[in-house]
Symmetry: C2
Subunit: 250 residues, 2 copies
């Protein structure tokens, strides 16, 4: 998330975001005009607008033609502590900065069969690593997941690497960063494995996240199904113009 920016627009984006978070520009304030900010940052209007656009996409601001750019970041709502009803959340754990302890439950090399091909879209016969992993923090288990990694892309995977971060391995060792991930979230009834590993309390249903990940060059190299502990699960999303994709099952 907080990567050192090597672009002008990214550093302007980062700076404006900081100024918003530090309440220089408060909730429902207007940002200074483009003309003004161009002077502040000594950049072209295009570059500034690119930064603003990213702030909009991330739910920090909202532009209105003729009026200005309004701050809609509400520290009360999202300052690393989202209140939802009587509960409060923190500790964001995204794919890139996972603090999870990982236990490898199964590590295998298989070929995609017909059934797996249908759900994963991998062609039948594709050699893949098949891995089951348990993700935990302290003594609490949060996620049980099954990964299928294309062996052509993720070469020479070992249990040790699977215990650490496969994404770090991909990025640093193989120089194959992921570029896009498509994600489907559904609710499913907990199976025996979920009951065994996750503390389900009285819940009998859990969130299931299915991931399809692509490398730089457009190859779908990963199919992963994650079963999450329901009472600890939260998904956050902000959307400027695009409609949400809630769907209905047949």
């Amino acid at each position: 998330m907080d990567i050192i920016p090597n672009n002008k627009y990214d550093s302007i984006y980062a700076d404006l975001k900081n100024r918003i978070k530090q309440d220089e520009f408060q909730y429902q304030d207007k940002l200074p005009s483009e003309t003004n900010l161009v002077l502040q940052y000594n950049c072209s209007r295009n570059t500034l607008r690119r930064a603003i656009k990213k702030l909009g996409a991330d739910g920090y601001v909202q532009s209105v033609r003729g009026k200005g750019v309004i701050v809609i970041y509400n520290s009360h709502l999202e300052n690393d502590l989202i209140k939802n009803g009587n509960h409060s959340f923190s500790q964001m754990a995204d794919r890139n900065k996972i603090k999870f302890k990982t236990t490898v439950l199964l590590f295998d090399e298989i070929e995609v069969d017909k059934k797996l091909s249908l759900e994963s879209t991998f062609p039948i016969g594709t050699p893949v690593y098949y891995i089951k992993r348990l993700r935990s923090i302290g003594s609490d288990n949060y996620i049980v997941e099954e990964n299928y990694f294309m062996r052509k892309v993720v070469k020479d995977l070992t249990i040790n690497i699977a215990q650490d971060s496969i994404y770090k391995y991909l990025k640093d060792v193989l120089n194959e960063p992921i570029a896009t991930t498509k994600r489907i979230l559904t609710i499913g009834l907990a199976n025996e494995q979920d009951k065994k590993y996750l503390d389900l309390k009285t819940y009998n249903a859990i969130p299931i996240v299915t991931n399809y990940s692509f490398t730089n060059d457009g190859t779908m190299f990963e199919y992963t199904v994650s079963h999450h502990r329901p009472d600890k699960f939260i998904f956050y999303d902000q959307n400027e113009t695009n409609p949400v994709s809630f769907m209905l099952k047949n």
Copy 2:
């Protein structure tokens, strides 16, 4: 979703999307180069790149510097029929083109109290409409939701309007289109109301979507909590570079 584009970049975006969907450019193909497409569409490189960027944000393509733009839209995966395991889904129902039948269960005008203020971020005392609605298709109920609309923004709301589309009313009558929606998805145990209205089968937990919506001018005017029928719920998301925001509850 499929709005008539009045911009050049939107029409180029729409056209390229069609050409991808109609298999002129297939999964893992490269699009023609920017230079080539600029000639095809008789536009500037900037305008073309804007269209491509949108295609990328929507999960259709992926750009790689030095190489080209690769199609990652897989009709098998997403051509209005997403296969997930043994189930198949269709009939996308997003906020803008809802085909739901709406039954108003409760329609009231209240002022925000301390408890509601904490979850909604509306200031205490704010006059709001408090509405409970049931969303269904045919004889199947899909969603029970509670809406809180700021009366200052959503003026003179009636049960009839609530039965139709409040968003249409906002957009067409009050000329106040929503610009941004922030969304939190959690899993909760089903309450009596959920059991009464939704066909929960053996599920005792359901997806709960909390919406915070903003008008054009940055006012948060809506707080909504939706309880979904679990077996019919699916959330789809594609993400280019930004990390997902899965979080863990405290």
